[in-house]
C-alpha cells in the first residue's frame, strides 16, 4: 500500500567523532534533566528543535540503540562493579524519545524501530502509517552514536560515529509532483540512516512530496 507524504520540515547532523554543539543548554535548560541525557537523546532533541517539533506522535529509529550505556554496563558486569541505575535506565532503545517526552511533556504515542540496516527505512513506513491513521503530523527521527572506547575493533560500517536525521511528515491525498525516494545520501553514513538522510536531502533540494510504501 502506497501513501503520499508532505515533508513539513527536515534536519540532519553528523560528525566523525562527537558532534560539537548540540545546543543542550538552550534546548534543555533544566540541568538535572540535561545531565542525564544520552548522546542519542541530545542529538534527537537538537534535530527536533531544528524541525520545530515539540509534541505529537514520534517514530524513532536506531539500529544500535544506546551503545554507550550498554557497553558501560557489560564492562561493569565483567569487572564486578555495581551498575548505576541511571546507566541501566538509559540503556533501553527508547531512551532518546522518552527524554523528548519528558522535556516537552509529550503524552502521545512513541514507537521505536530497530531493524538493523533498514531501521530508518522502516521508521519512515511506520511514521507514514501513524500519520495516515491519526491524520496528524508525525516526527520521524533516527540517530546512531557509536563513539565508545575501542569501537575500531568492530566498526567497519561508517566514518561518522555520531549521526542523525529527522523529518516531520503528514499524509496527503494529492500525489501530483510526488517522487520516489532518491539515492542521494553522503558517502560514509551508517546504512541504518540511509533512507531518512535521502529524504532530508531531497527536502533540501525542494522535493517535499514523496511516496512511501507501507
Amino acid at each position: 500500500m502506497r501513501v503520499t507524504v508532505n515533508i513539513i520540515s527536515a534536519a540532519k547532523v553528523y560528525a566523525t567523532k562527537n558532534i560539537e554543539d548540540l545546543e543542550e543548554k538552550r534546548i534543555v535548560p533544566n540541568m538535572l534533566l540535561r545531565r542525564r541525557l544520552t548522546r542519542n537523546a541530545k542529538i534527537m532533541l537538537y534535530l527536533c528543535d531544528k524541525c520545530g517539533f515539540s509534541g505529537g506522535k514520534v517514530v524513532y529509529a536506531s539500529a544500535f540503540g544506546e551503545l554507550q550505556s550498554t557497553a558501560a554496563i557489560t564492562d561493569d558486569i565483567l569487572k564486578n562493579i555495581p551498575i548505576s541505575p541511571t546507566l541501566f535506565q538509559n540503556s533501553v532503545y527508547n531512551s532518546a524519545p522518552s527524554y523528548f517526552s519528558l522535556l516537552y511533556g509529550d503524552k502521545d504515542e512513541i514507537i521505536t524501530i530497530s531493524s538493523g540496516n533498514k531501521s530508518s527505512s522502516d521508521a519512515l513506513k511506520i511514521a507514514a502509517l501513524q500519520a495516515l491513521v491519526s491524520g496528524e503530523r508525525v516526527l520521524c527521527v533516527a540517530t546512531e552514536c557509536l563513539d565508545i572506547d575501542k569501537i575500531e575493533e568492530v566498526n567497519s560500517c561508517t566514518k561518522y560515529l555520531e549521526s542523525g536525521a529527522a523529518i516531520v511528515l503528514e499524509v496527503t491525498k494529492e500525489s501530483k509532483g510526488a517522487k520516489e525516494i532518491q539515492n542521494i545520501k553522503e558517502d560514509g553514513i551508517l546504512r541504518s540512516l540511509h533512507e531518512i538522510i535521502n529524504v532530508v536531502n531531497m527536502s533540501a533540494m525542494g522535493d517535499k512530496k514523496i511516496f512511501i510504501d507501507l
Binding site: M1, R36, A63, F64, G65, T70, I73, T74, D75, I77, L78, N80, P82, I83, S84, P85, L87, F88, Q89, N90, S91, V92, Y93, N94, S95, P97, S98, Y99, S101, L102, Y104, G105, D106, K107, D108, E109, I110, I111, T112, I113, S114, S115, G116, N117, K118, S119, D122, K125, I126, L129, Q130, L132, V133, K150, I151, E153, V154, N155, C157, L214
Partner: protein, 365 residues
Amino acid sequence: MKAFINYYESLSCAGNTDALMDAVYSGKSAISLDNSYIKERFVGIGKMKGDDFFHSLEDVVTQVLKKSNLENYHNTLLIVGSSVGGMQESEKHYFQDKNYKNIDPAKHGIGVIQEYLQKQFHFLDTRSLSTACTSSANALLLAKRMINVGAYQNILVLGADALCYTTACGFSSLGILSSKACKPFDKNREGMNVAEAVASLLIQDTKNENSIELIGVGASSDAYHMTNPDPEAKGAIASMKKALEDAGLKPNDIDYINAHGTGTIANDAVEALAIETLFHATDAGVSSTKAITGHTLGAAGALEAIISCEVIKHQKIPLQAGLENQENQNINILKKSVQKNVRYVLSNSFAFGGNNTSLVFGTVL
C-alpha cells in the same frame, strides 16, 4: 478491515501455550531460584527449557505456520518486538575475550531476530520494534492498524527476549528483583522476576471458527520519569481509555483485565489505581500472569495477548497466583479461577520511559 488473531504459540518458563494455561489456571508458578546472573544472592528467574534461543524462535514460528492456513510466510509481514535482541551473544563474546573483536555488529541489535527468521522463512517483509517492555504490545498495536488500513493481509507478530546479564543485573541495580516468585498486587510483594519467552501470533484480515478479534489498541506516554510510573496513573488510564475507545467499548464491557502487574511496589500500586479509577463500577476480574511466567520484558505483550485469547476461548478467568494480602481492595482480583462468560479482555503493558500500551481482545460476533 478487521484484525483477527487466528493462530498462535508460545514458549516460556511454563512451557508451551497448553502447559502455560494449565499453570495459569492452577496458579502454579514456573519461576525458579537462580544465582547465575546475580552472584551475591538468589533471585526468582523465569528460564525457558531448551538450550538455544534462536532454535526456540524457529520452533515457535514453525509451529504457528503448521497450525495456520498458510503454506509459507511469503505473503506475511513479520513484526518483531524485543528489548534486548542479540545482547546475550555480545555479552558472551565480551566476557570471554574482554574486547569487541569477535562481536558481529549485525548480531548485536534487535534486528538480529528478524534477520535470522527472514533467512529461514522468507517473509514478505519485516519490521522490528524496541520500546523496552511494551515492544511486542506495540508490535500488535501496529499490526492491527496495518490490517485496518488494508496494507497487509497476514502479519506475524513475534515477541522474543532471552535472559541476559544486562537486564538481570540492571533490574537488580534498581533494587526491584524478588528473591522468590513475584506476588503482584500483594501488600508484601518484593519485586519482579526477570524472565524470557518467545510468543507469536498470526493476525489476518479474514476470520475462521477459532478467531479472536484484536478489537482495540491504545498507547500513551507518561512524560513523568524514565523508570517510575506517574503516581496519578494518568498515562496508564489514558492508554486503557484509548484502547476502549478504539474498540467502541465502555469499561463495563470488559470481563477480564490481564494486568501488567510486575510485582514491583511502584507499578502495581499505580496500575491498581488506574484500574480502580476506570473500572470501579464494573466487575471486571483482574490478575497478573507474571506470577506464573515472570516478566518476559519485550515478549510480555505478545505472551499475554496469547493468554488473553486463551481466556476468551476457555471462558475462564485466571486467579491471581501468589496473592495473600491484597493491597488495593477496590479492584476485583480473583483468588480462584472462575468460569464465566468472557466476551472482552483488556491487556496492559507498561515500559521504561513511561511508554504505555493497552490492547482489547474480543469474541468474534
